[in-house]
């Protein structure tokens, strides 16, 4: 292929070649991810409705909360989050390893397989063959196929890293590698443990919660952190404030995440030290979270206002803050003082959502807003719609998380009191759950605007004038052109 022999003329041309080689796989992953996201938002809305009005779809087993909610959640995780992650990780790895993707076609095929597997998995839940283990609801026959499909995708990411031209690795690359090596082993361990014949049932639930926590903090989070460690310096044109801090953030995340998760069963019939270790590890996670946020704020220092204009920066910055908030909330629910009331209530779902939506998803949006113009060669059609997307998503996820936590507080005391009946706890939470439906409605709307813009970009109907990048607000002064000019001057 001519691609391989072509000399890297200069940085800009290399980037352009990398972006072009990734266009099809990335657009495939981003659009199908966005599709799943819309479906998931819709089901989030409908399942929230059934929580409020349980008799809504009487007589239709397919539309009951017990199936809708797992479909919503698994579509969000395996349909949207993992695929958006594939796209972003591929792009970051290619850019940072200065490597052109050699096999776009293979990757697109692997992507189709992934989507097929996820669809079959979701259907298995719909028909009632799910496992009812949260985040692992797919029928057990799906697991091996999903794992193989995962490996057939990430192998290209690892390959690009292995053949990188620059020997030193940027922290984003470390994050991405950690993520792609983490998923196979936790997925295998959790499924193997849960689907074995026999074994203590409570331990299976505990392993399940360990899996969820590892998915959030060691599979999804690293990709988002890798993306914001790329986007923030890139957009602001500054080096990462402190590389030492970035390293601490990375290694502490790797070190502590594996211990988290079992705290979900504090006081349950498992050995007491398991949840306690989980609680302590969730406290330790404050270290990577603080390191990341401090590092990014310092990197942006003096240019924080740019988050007003650059969509990528705004989403990524929001995401990083949400990461810290999510980790702090996770400490609350994972340790005894507050956790003993909050655990096993709606609050758990709300706090998970801060991490997978407020943090991960928002950062992915930022990355997609950054990447797609580069791979398709035109600008996002409308900054107004990006602003709409941002605010509706932010308010939506904020409302859902806040009200689920309130619901949890209202329920927690009842659940913890053995003289109360369980239904009382359910009813205590009910008033707050209306907000859940509203929140998912807002998110759904915002994602419609997102997928509409993305669709336009895919068919290359974006802006093609000389206005420069699409910004959230019309820039008051020429921040970006100014930067470009100075940088050009510096390079010349």
């Amino acid at each position: 292929m001519t691609t391989d022999t072509l000399p890297a003329v200069d940085d800009v041309h290399l980037r352009a070649r990398i972006d072009r080689s990734l266009r099809f796989p990335l657009l495939f992953f981003f659009t199908s991810a966005a599709g799943w996201l819309c479906l998931s938002s819709l089901l989030g809305f409908v399942s929230a409705l059934t929580l409020n009005v349980p008799e809504l779809f009487d007589g239709l087993p397919y539309l009951q909360y017990g199936r809708l909610y797992p479909i919503h959640l698994n579509a969000l995780v395996y349909g949207w989050a993992m695929q958006a992650g594939f796209g972003v990780a591929l792009w970051l790895m290619a850019r940072l390893s200065r490597n052109v993707l050699r096999n776009p076609v293979t990757l697109v095929v692997a992507g189709h397989v992934w989507n097929l597997v996820v669809s079959v998995g979701l259907l298995s839940i719909l028909f009632g063959w799910g496992t009812s283990m949260p985040w692992l609801d797919f029928h057990k026959g799906i697991c091996p196929v999903l794992l193989i499909s995962y490996i057939s995708i990430v192998i290209w990411i690892v390959g690009m890293f292995a053949s990188r031209s620059e020997k030193s690795a940027f922290v984003s690359q470390l994050y991405i590698l950690a993520s792609v090596f983490w998923f196979p082993w936790i997925y295998l361990t959790a499924n193997g443990f849960i689907h074995q014949d026999g074994g203590a049932a409570v331990m299976k639930s505990a392993v399940n919660s360990w899996y969820i926590s590892n998915m959030i903090y060691m599979v999804l989070a690293p990709i988002a952190l890798g993306a914001s460690y790329y986007i923030v310096p890139k957009v602001t044109g500054r080096p990462v404030f402190s590389y030492a801090l970035a390293n601490i953030g990375f290694w502490s995340l790797v070190l502590f995440t594996g211990w988290t998760g079992m705290s979900r069963y504090m006081g349950g019939p498992i050995p007491a030290w398991l949840p306690t270790v989980g609680g302590a590890a969730s406290i330790f996670l404050l270290i990577p979270a603080l390191a990341v946020v401090y590092n990014q704020v310092k990197t942006m220092e003096g240019k924080l206002a740019w988050a007003n204009y650059s969509p990528a920066l705004r989403f990524a910055f929001f995401g990083s803050i949400a990461f810290l908030v999510g980790v702090a909330l996770n400490v609350m629910i994972s340790t005894l003082p507050v956790g003993k009331t909050l655990q096993l209530t709606q609050a758990q779902g709300g706090i998970d959502l801060v991490a997978i939506y407020g943090f991960f998803t928002m950062t992915m949006f930022g990355a997609i807003y950054f990447i797609v113009p580069r791979i398709v060669g035109c600008e996002w059609p409308n900054g107004q719609m990006i602003r709409f997307h941002f605010w509706f998503s932010a308010y939506g996820v904020g409302a859902i998380a806040a009200f689920m936590i309130f619901a949890g507080l209202a329920q927690g005391h009842v659940i913890a009191n053995y003289t109360e009946e369980f239904i009382t706890a359910v009813e205590r939470g009910k008033p707050y759950l209306a907000a859940l439906a509203i929140g998912w409605f807002l998110i759904g709307l915002s994602n419609l605007s997102f997928i509409a813009q993305l669709g336009l970009m895919v068919i290359r109907r974006g802006r093609r004038d000389d206005e420069g990048p699409t910004l959230i607000h019309k820039k008051p002064e020429d921040y970006f052109t100014h930067e470009l000019v100075t940088e050009k001057a510096a390079q010349a």
Binding site: R20, S21, F170, V235, V240, A246, P271, A272, I283
Partner: protein, 251 residues
Amino acid sequence: MNEELPNPETTHLDYGERSSVAEIHAAVQREKREPLAGFQPVSMVAIVIAGLILVLGGSYLGAYNGGFDLKRSYAVANYEAAPRPVIPGFEVKVDNRPWIDRWMEAGKEVYATCAACHQPNGNGLVGQFPPLAGSEWVVNGSERVGAIMFPGILGSINVKGQVYNGVMPAQGALLSDKQLAQVMTYIRRSWGNNGSIVTEEMVKYARDKYGSRVQPWSEAELLAIPGDAMLPGAEVDPLTGLEPGAAPAGS
């Protein structure tokens, strides 16, 4: 810019792409360099904060680890379990009766297999099935009963002064040691009989000794076993079912 560039690659997947990289999209062009790493050292404050977090987490672990005991599911000092909740219709029945009553009750259930012939009241049927109630074969030594259970009896046998001439089928192969022990205890202690308790251990001895015998007993052969011979095995306390002096169950 850069018109002198070599002609760019095209991939098969490409659509609508202008064939020259010379026209690089503005987004790529305006980009800043790939991110660099700054070398700010980690500040003292950051190290102190990290230290505090480690101490906090560590002391949480120290306070609630429950001694890393694999069998302890609570970690709080002075923990007191809540009383069992009472759910109407789901009361857990705890059987507090003496062990021997439960043993006899289980034996009665097993006896259903014998009752077809020997009758529920243990009196048998005149001329066909001999009685077990008051039978000298049953109440005296336990070894004879144990022996009968295995290959059964063929030919005439004198029970309580009456001669029976039927077939007693083998029972041992169909029942477990425990069930045999229960039913043997049951027939030895019901309907006014007052024999000793038979335990699993004793049945095991009988099975070892007679289990492989195929030829049913004749009366003469049975009489060769001393009438007061007992199956060897430890005696048990009727209250607990354990050897007297052993620790109570559940400790």
